[in-house]
Symmetry: C2
Subunit: 91 residues, 2 copies
Amino acid sequence: MDIKKIERISRALSDTNRIAILQQFKKKKDCLYCAEVNDLLDLTQPSVSHHLKQLVDADLLLPQKEGRNLKYILNQQVLDDYIASLNELKD
Amino acid sequence: MDIKKIERISRALSDTNRIAILQQFKKKKDCLYCAEVNDLLDLTQPSVSHHLKQLVDADLLLPQKEGRNLKYILNQQVLDDYIASLNELKD
DNA sequence: TAGAAATATTCAAATATTTAAATACTAAAA
DNA sequence: TTTTAGTATTTAAATATTTGAATATTTCTA
């Protein structure tokens, strides 16, 4: 993973609201709906949309349209790659 | 690791200059001198000092004074804890 | 002790991020 | 087809970050 990608993902993770979104996947298991994220955070809908966009732009979340709803899936592969890059710092 | 700590470390990692500093540890092995970081980055000394401070404040680097020089050690424990927190997102 | 070397701090300017209000878009439902 | 629900975009304000110039601090050395 190149340094720009590491930067992008790190920045996506550098906000408690976005970390809370990711942590919610542990509870909701496989997927999370946009509306659920709006309920989860104490922010207006546009702000939540902005945070979700950051996570999607970093490829941490994969969006999937379902009619007028939007479902997100955690991109475990990118998370694994990011973790692998961090592990490489340690040798 | 609490959410605020994850945020802090992620933010410290969200800059290519700071990532480059951490990557330099792989080449210099155990420790890195402040002056070496100044040489590494194409920034003025105060800017480098600022970046190093971010890494120290996130506990990713442990500073050690050696006379008027300053030596940094990579805090592998914090890095491990951070990685563990990221791994927890995946279950 | 005076001067030099290494690092930190202060300050200001430029840029980026976060947030919400207003509005637009898209797709389902009435 | 009009309305409604869900999500995105635009805009602007507040705040935070990044950077370098100037300066301060600390510690070594002559």
